[in-house]
Subunit: 385 residues, 4 copies
Amino acid sequence: MGLRYLDAGESHGKAVVVIVEGMPHGLVIGASRIEEELARRRLGYGRGGRMRLERDRVEILSGVRGGKTMGSPVAMLVENAEYERWREVMAVEGDIAVEPLTAIRPGHADLPGALKYATRDLRDVLERASARETVGRVCAGALAKALLEKLGMRILSHVLSVGGIWAETGGARSPEELEGADGDPLRCLDPRASGKMVKKIEEAEKNGDSLGGVFEVVAFGVPPGIGSHVHWDRRLDARLAAAVMGIQAVKGVEIGDGFRLAEMPGSRAVDVLEYTGDAGFVRASNHAGGIEGGMSNGEPIVLRAAMKPIPTMKKAVDSVDLVSKEKVKAAVERADICAVPAAAVIAESVVSLVIADALLEKTGGDSMLEIEERLEAMWRRIRDF
Amino acid sequence: MGLRYLDAGESHGKAVVVIVEGMPHGLVIGASRIEEELARRRLGYGRGGRMRLERDRVEILSGVRGGKTMGSPVAMLVENAEYERWREVMAVEGDIAVEPLTAIRPGHADLPGALKYATRDLRDVLERASARETVGRVCAGALAKALLEKLGMRILSHVLSVGGIWAETGGARSPEELEGADGDPLRCLDPRASGKMVKKIEEAEKNGDSLGGVFEVVAFGVPPGIGSHVHWDRRLDARLAAAVMGIQAVKGVEIGDGFRLAEMPGSRAVDVLEYTGDAGFVRASNHAGGIEGGMSNGEPIVLRAAMKPIPTMKKAVDSVDLVSKEKVKAAVERADICAVPAAAVIAESVVSLVIADALLEKTGGDSMLEIEERLEAMWRRIRDF
Amino acid sequence: MGLRYLDAGESHGKAVVVIVEGMPHGLVIGASRIEEELARRRLGYGRGGRMRLERDRVEILSGVRGGKTMGSPVAMLVENAEYERWREVMAVEGDIAVEPLTAIRPGHADLPGALKYATRDLRDVLERASARETVGRVCAGALAKALLEKLGMRILSHVLSVGGIWAETGGARSPEELEGADGDPLRCLDPRASGKMVKKIEEAEKNGDSLGGVFEVVAFGVPPGIGSHVHWDRRLDARLAAAVMGIQAVKGVEIGDGFRLAEMPGSRAVDVLEYTGDAGFVRASNHAGGIEGGMSNGEPIVLRAAMKPIPTMKKAVDSVDLVSKEKVKAAVERADICAVPAAAVIAESVVSLVIADALLEKTGGDSMLEIEERLEAMWRRIRDF
Amino acid sequence: MGLRYLDAGESHGKAVVVIVEGMPHGLVIGASRIEEELARRRLGYGRGGRMRLERDRVEILSGVRGGKTMGSPVAMLVENAEYERWREVMAVEGDIAVEPLTAIRPGHADLPGALKYATRDLRDVLERASARETVGRVCAGALAKALLEKLGMRILSHVLSVGGIWAETGGARSPEELEGADGDPLRCLDPRASGKMVKKIEEAEKNGDSLGGVFEVVAFGVPPGIGSHVHWDRRLDARLAAAVMGIQAVKGVEIGDGFRLAEMPGSRAVDVLEYTGDAGFVRASNHAGGIEGGMSNGEPIVLRAAMKPIPTMKKAVDSVDLVSKEKVKAAVERADICAVPAAAVIAESVVSLVIADALLEKTGGDSMLEIEERLEAMWRRIRDF
C-alpha cells in the first residue's frame, strides 16, 4: 500500500489536516522541522497579504512519540488563525448567514466545480480548490523529506523564470549549489535575473496583474533502480509528473531537458556512459534528468514545472455571474502577484513523497533500522556490481 | 476501483496480452476496431524495419460476446509474429542458449534495470522496457476510445514538431480538423512543415541519428466537471500527466498553453468567460487547455508532450559493458529514426483511458444504457444551469 | 477512487483523527449525529472503567459547511480527555521519561509488532493496536451511515451470543425489530438471553476473566446489483469480510447462514425465487444473507462476526518479558470484560462504509441531488424489469 | 503497488487469462508447476462431468525467460477445450444465434447480475460468475506459492467437513501432516470421516442434491510481523478474509479457532507465551491461528472457510423466468455435487497471493536474491531479539 496520505481543509475553514500512513518506525521528526518547510512555503517576493499574515504552526496529533515516528499514521493539524473572522461564511453547522458567492473567477475551479456539484454557491468549490490546501501536502512532504535526508538524499528547488525573465544557470550538480536559493527574494540562483524578476513583479503589481514562471526541483543521492519500467504506473517519471501536475496552477512538467530534448538529434540527447574505478558507472551529461526507462539512474533527478500566472488579479477580468448569467468583473483585492518560489517548495514536498514511496517499495521494511541496513547493502551491491 | 488494466509481454516474447477490467456492459466492440488503432500505431515516416514487418492481429479472449462487452474483464492477445525467430533467446522454459547481452545502451532502461534486478543479462530488462509493450496500452485504449466515442467524445492527435521543425497550426477547435492527420506522413497538419520533417528524417537516417518531437492530443466533447479539485490524485491534469509521461521516451507534458503560460501575464493568460443563450457558458480562448482546478471545463482538453529522440541509433554511442566494464559501442542495426507520430497515437490511447475512467466515476453505472441516460441528464442539467 | 479514509491516533495520544475522502456534496451532517454513534460505541454491560469515563466529542474540521458536506475531504477530530495524564508516557517531542513497557500481553499485537519494528518498547505498538482507534472508524462510518439513511437504507446490529449464551432470535426482516437493541444492556433482542449474559459477565468479572461473543449486522434497503461478480476484489462479500475482520478481536465472519450452510444440502440451502405483481422478484428465505454472486440481491444483507474474548484480563496470564525473556504475568487492572455490544456498533460503521462505497460505484455522481435521482431511476428500472 | 493481478475469462469462452504484476526477478517457475496446481483444482470425489473432461494446460505468455521470472508481468493462458462446442453461444463477434437464457438459478449471480446490467440474457452474467474463473486465480496463486516455498513457507489445505460429516483432526502443526490430503478422495485427513463423506455424496447424488462443507488452509513458516496493526486494510486477517470470502460459494471465514473463540472465556482463549533458548518465543497453543493484532505471529496461520452447497442441482429448484416472470424449474444436468476439496485448493492459491503480497511489503526488493538475503536477516534478527 506504500506511503499514502489524505489531506483536508478549506482555505478559510478551521484547519488544514493531513494523515500520512505508511511511514516506518523510528524516524526522528518534530514540529519545528515541519514548520521550517511551512515557512519556506511562504517565501518569495510578490506574495499577497495573507502570506505575510500567516504563521503556520503545526500540531502533531499522532504517530510520533518521543520525537520519533511510531509506524502508525501521523496526523498533523495546522489551525487557520483567520477562522474566527470567517466563521459566518464558513460555519460548519447552522445556516450560512452570508449570501452565496456567484461571480465566477475564470481560470479557477469555480465554474467546472459548480457544474460538477450542481451548486449555486461557488464558495463550496473554491474554498477547497485554494492553494491553502498545499499546507497539508507540505506537512506530509516534510516527513518524506526527513526520511530521505536521513538516508542521504536531498530534495531541493530553485526558480528558473518569472514572467518570461530567465535565470542563467547551468544544471545544478550538487545540493550545496541549491541551498542558497532560499536566500534570494525569488529563490533564484542568478542574482541578476532575480533583480529583473523583482522589477517585473513590481510592474505587474502596478498593473494589477500577476505572473507565472518555471521552477526546478532536483533530487540528489537517489540510488539507481527506484521506480520501474515494467508497468506504466510504476514508472518514477509518471508518478512525479502526476504529483507535480497535481499542484494548483501547474500546467507543464518536464524531466531533465524535457521539451528541449524533442529538438535535439539522438546523438546529442544521449548521456554517454563511462566506467571509472572510483565512481562506477557515470554519465558525462544528464539530459535524461536522472531517469531512464522509468527508473532513477543514479544521476540527480531533475524536474521542471511551469506555473501559470494566478488568475486572481486586482485588474478586473471579464466574467459571468453563475446564477443571473449577467456580465461581472472577477476582481480580488488581496492576492499573490507571483507564487512561483512557493510553488517550488510545494513541489519539493510532493517530489519527496513520490521518491520516498518508490524507495520504500525497493527497500521494504518497517523501521529506519531495517531500511538503513538495506539501503547500505543496495549501495554496496551497486558499487561492487 | 474504476477502469483498470494490466498489460504484459516482452518485445520478442510470444505475445502482448492486456486485461481491461471495469468496462460497462453493452459497448459495441470488435477486433477490427482495435486493429485499426494498432495499425495507426505503426504510422509515420521514419519508422524502422519492424514497423513495416508487423501486422498486428488482436484476439479478444474474453469479456465480449455477440459483439458487445459483457461487463466482465476483456482480455486481448496480440501474438508476436517474430517469436519463432527469437525462440532461442526468449525461451520461456529451459536454459537460454545464447550469451547474455551486456553492452549497455545509454538512454534506455538497461543499466538502471540491471542494477535494480542485480542481473547480468540486459535482455531481462530491455525486453520489457521496449515500446513494443505499448501494443497492450493501445488495445486497452481502443476500448476506452470506443466508449467515449459512443458517448459523443473524440480523442485525436497530431504532430507539432520533429527534430526542431515546427508545424504552424492554430489550436484545433473541432475534431474534423484533426482527422486529416493520419493522411500525412508525419501525422502533421501543416504540409509545409511535414515536408521539412521528412527531409530532416532523411538527413538523420543518413547520419545514423534519430529525432524526437512534440505532439498534441485533443479530447473533444468531454463534459465539464470530470476529475476533481478536492484531492491531488483525483485531478484530471495529474492523471493525464502520469499516463502520458508513462509512455516510453516522453520527457515532458503540458496542458493547454503549458510552459508558454509561465511567460504570460495573468491578464493575457486567462480565458475570459461569457454566457450566451445558445451555448451557455463559453470562453473566448482556451489557454487552460480545457482544465481548470483539475477538472474538465467543457472546452477541448489539449495536452502536448515532448518525445526525446530514440537513444538507439545506427551511429554508435559510447558506452560500457555491464560485466567487463570495458568501453563498448552501443549500436543497433534496425531502429526507428523517428517515432513521434506513433507516440501520439499511443498517447491518444492512454488519454482515452484516463478520461474514460474519470467519466465513469462521474456517471457510475454498469451498462451503456445506464451511462448514456445519466450523461444525457448531466448535459441537460449543464445546459439548464 | 471511491470512498476512502485514513484514521490516526493512539490510545493515550492527543486525539483520534480521521479524514474521509470521496463523500458527495450536499449530505446533511453534524457533530451530534456522529457523537450519537460514538456514544453507541460505549454501550454494553461489562465495559471497563474507561468507557464510563469517556465522553467523546467530535470536532468537524473540514468538508462540512452550513450543515452539509461540501464534496471536499471531511476531517474529524476526537480529543483524548485523558491525554494530560499520559503526557509523560506519550510525549510527541522530547525524551520519554518513563521506562519502556516490556511485559508482553499474549493475544495482542505486542510481540509480533515488536518483532516487526525491532522495538524494545511495546508501547510503540500497543498504543496504536488498541481498540481506541475504532473511534476513527465510527466517525467515518457515521458519515456513510447518514448517506445510506438519506437514500433509504438502514444499517443495524444486535448481539447474538456472549460467552456461549445464545439469543433465540429469528432472522430480522425489518429495521424496526433491531432498533430496540440499544435499549438492552447487551444490545440483545432476547431479554431472557440478555439476562443470562449479564450473569455470565458478572461471573467472569469475579474470576478476572473476559468474554467474547457473536453479533449480527443487517443492512436493509440496499438495491440489488451492488458489488460485482466480475472480479474477486469487487465482490461485496469479500469487501464486507475484510472490513469486519479488520476490527480488533474479530476472528470470524459469515454472510447469511454462513457456516451452517456448509452443513445443509443444496435443496434446503437455496432461497427459492418467486415473482409477485407487487413486490417483483422475492425470495421465500434469506439463507444467502442478501448476497448472491458477490452482489446484493435486494434481501437484507446479513453478516455475523465472532469476537474473541479480550485477552487483557485481571486474571494474570503467563507471559514473557520482551527484553529479559523472564517469565512475567500479563495482568491489567482496568479493562473491558465484554465488548461485544460495542464491536457490533463498530461493525455497523465499517459495513456502512463498504456499502456506501459500493453504492457510489453504482450511482456515480458528485452530489446528493444527482445520487438521489439516479437511485430513484435504478429502483424504477428494477421494479419495471 | 505490491503484487496485483487481474484475471479474465468466461466459463465457456475461449480461455481464462491472468496477468500477475509485481513478481520479483529470478523465481524459478514453469508451466508444469502451475499445471500441478490446476490438476489439484480438479480433485475431489463428487465432481461433475466437466472436471473429468478438463485437462488444463497453461501457456506462459510473458514474464518468464529461461525458466525464471523476469520481473515483468507474467501472463498465463488456459484455453478452454470445449470452446468449439460453445462457439454459437459464446461468439465474440457477430450475432448470437441462440436464444437468451432466462431461467433464473436461485443462489447464483443470475438475478442480481441481470438487474445490475439491465440485461435480459442471463448468460452475460453467469458465464463470468462461474467457478471456471478460479483457474485464473490458481495460476496466479501458483506463482505466489512457488515464491513462498522458495522462501521456506508452505501453504496447504484439507477438508474438515462435508454435508455435516466432520473429520476428527487435531490442529496440524507441520506441513508433512497435511501433504497426505491430496491422496484422499475428499482431501480429508480422517479416513473414517472421508468414508462417510463419500457415502453422503453418493446419497446426495441419488437425490439430485448437492453438499457444502468446511475446509482449512494452513500457512507454515511465515515470519512474525507480516501484515500490520496500524490501519485496518493492512491487517493480514482482513486481507485473508477478503481473498477467501471472494471465492465463489464461500459464505464464512474464520481465523484460528474463530467462532469457537467467541464461546470461550479469555483465560482459555489466550495462547500462553514462553521463551525457550532454542526456539525463542513460543506459544503453548494456537487459538489465534497465527495472527495477533492483524500480524503474523510466527505460529502456523490457520484459516477455515464454509462453502455452501452449489445451488445448481439435478433436483429442480423453484424459480422464475427473468422475462416472462412465469414459474420455472432451475435444473441442470451436469454439475458438481460437492466441490469442497477443490475450493480448498483455490483457497490455498488466494491465501498464497495475500501472504506473498504482505511478505513483499516487508522485504521489499526486486529480485529473489535481494529478498532471500533480507528474509534471512529478518529471521536472524528475530532469533537474536
